[in-house]
Symmetry: C2
Subunit: 319 residues, 2 copies
């Protein structure tokens, strides 16, 4: 964990990280929302390698490890998208990866890890238990533990989403980004603070996991005991320590959306925007379409991932 | 219908048409296929206004009518995507539109026409009957009949798809495009002949509606009596006269794909590429992934539309 007095990264740091990962990224150009052409833009990270933005941070983190460390292998704990991202990045860099996943993980995400050649360890307990198992594996096997969000190399990787948005639409005045552990949101906020200082940066959480919204309200770093949301990628009890520090400084506002609105947004993205987005990836779009943020300014929303469970897709279409 | 000795449009003609429609187009940048990054590119016209490439031709055609003609209104016959495109273009240009649609039209396409304010006339008969009704309406009301594909202004509009592909990836050596009435394919072929002369241009038809493949084999313009394919947007008995003339001159090859492969391609696009594409829009992707064209050259496939029936989406997910 970074000490509280570590300086925040400069624009040059962010750009250097982007250049390191750029050759491996799939382009995810801003798309005009068919429902609001010209007013609303979509950053479709569901089209990114591994189906979420997580590849950016994972590949950046692994690329910064020494070849000797990489050769011993990496380990991560994840309910899904971070695990797929680490497995894919490891495969591209030719190093072994072990991913500790919960029994409750969405099948499409487990399959994703397997597809990229990752070794999967399923475990019964919560995220603390998964973390302990991963830390034990790291200590015993000399593996490098790849944290999901509370890490500057990860944050620098995710920041590339913000750099790309700013370069493509300098006229934006508002950017909405999902908040889970805070890796994506802190990275995007760092980038946009530098490149689009006139834009409002809004974090979006599910109502049943709105720890950052509560943190902002109370002025202290809140950790929730109970999380209840359909957005499986945003079921974090609190944002990371480093992430909180950045978000407190760079984020303008946090809003939250109930599961009902998240599901309806996921459905509209599928049927109208023709994009497959998972609930966690649809929260920013939900906040915009439900009027929870300003409507009269040019806005971009980050669609952070597309690895939706088949059952849920079927449910959305049954309505 | 254009006389056989009409000159084919020049690159300047194509570019002038593109500039006329560009302000109204939604950007559909080439996307890297996650299944084949770097080797295969997707042109996602499912993300275009009205959910298909048809908007390009319809808007171009309407923009070329005189204000007086437009004020009287336009009429079109269509099983779906052309109808939505004409209704949307008419709405943007402030003119009334009447669309003659079959009883069998996919509901999502009927809803689309209604959303854009088009007046819908449902009819029982086949496409000849729909055409007759539309021609009668045109004659009686002084309405301008907007043909679906056998028209140079329509073809010039669709050609913009080819111009955009060539500008974005000049390194392409193969481009696959769906063939129905031949509006899209003849437009794209015209553009690529000019801008990517080194690229192979391949038309793709459903096996159950492969009139152009048979035409190329026999060396004459074939019209099929029976059409049987899941690809509802490609159920044309023959390509148009003008389209045939252009395709014969500019297309390198035609291949066809059975419905089974079209459905599997539609499913892979949904689950892996995270894009909602209708069966007609997936035929080019199907031809590539089933090895019906060269695999060792950089290729783009046009995903021509995304207006898939809800029932079919459910069926794809039930597997």
């Amino acid at each position: 964990m970074a000490p509280a007095n570590t300086r925040l990264p400069s624009l040059q740091d962010l750009q250097a990280a982007h250049l390191r990962i750029l050759p491996l990224l799939l382009p995810t150009p801003l798309l005009a929302a068919r429902t609001e052409p010209g007013a609303l833009w979509l950053k479709p990270e569901n089209l990114q390698r591994t189906g979420s933005f997580k590849f950016r941070g994972a590949y950046h983190k692994l690329s910064q490890l020494s070849p000797t460390v990489r050769a011993r292998g990496v380990v991560a704990y994840s309910s899904g998208n971070h695990g797929q991202a680490v497995a894919c990045a490891a495969q591209l860099l030719g190093c072994p990866a072990t991913i500790v996943m919960p029994q409750s993980a969405v099948q499409v995400k487990v399959d994703g890890v397997a597809r990229y050649g990752g070794t999967i360890i399923r475990c019964e307990g919560g995220s603390d238990e998964r973390r302990r198992i991963a830390e034990d594996l790291a200590a015993e096997g000399g593996l490098a533990l790849i944290p999901p969000y509370d890490d500057m190399a990860i944050i620098l990787g995710q920041a590339s989403v913000g750099l790309e948005i700013a370069r493509e639409r300098p006229s934006l005045r508002q950017v909405l980004v999902p908040v889970g552990g805070g890796g994506l949101s802190s990275g995007v906020a760092l980038a946009l603070r530098e490149l689009l200082p006139q834009a409002r940066i809004v974090g979006v959480e599910p109502e049943g996991g709105n720890d950052l919204q509560q943190s902002f309200a109370r002025g202290e770093h809140v950790r929730l005991d109970v999380i209840d949301t359909i957005a499986d990628g945003l079921r974090t009890q609190s944002v990371g320590t480093l992430n909180y520090r950045i978000l407190r400084e760079c984020l303008d506002e946090v809003v939250s959306v109930p599961d009902r609105e998240i599901l309806e947004a996921t459905r509209v993205l599928l049927l109208t925007e023709k994009l497959v987005v998972e609930p966690s990836g649809a929260v920013a779009f939900a906040a915009y379409r439900e009027g929870r943020v300003a409507q009269d300014v040019e806005t971009a929303v980050v669609l952070s991932g597309g690895n939706i469970a088949m059952d849920l897709l079927r449910t959305l279409l049954a309505q």
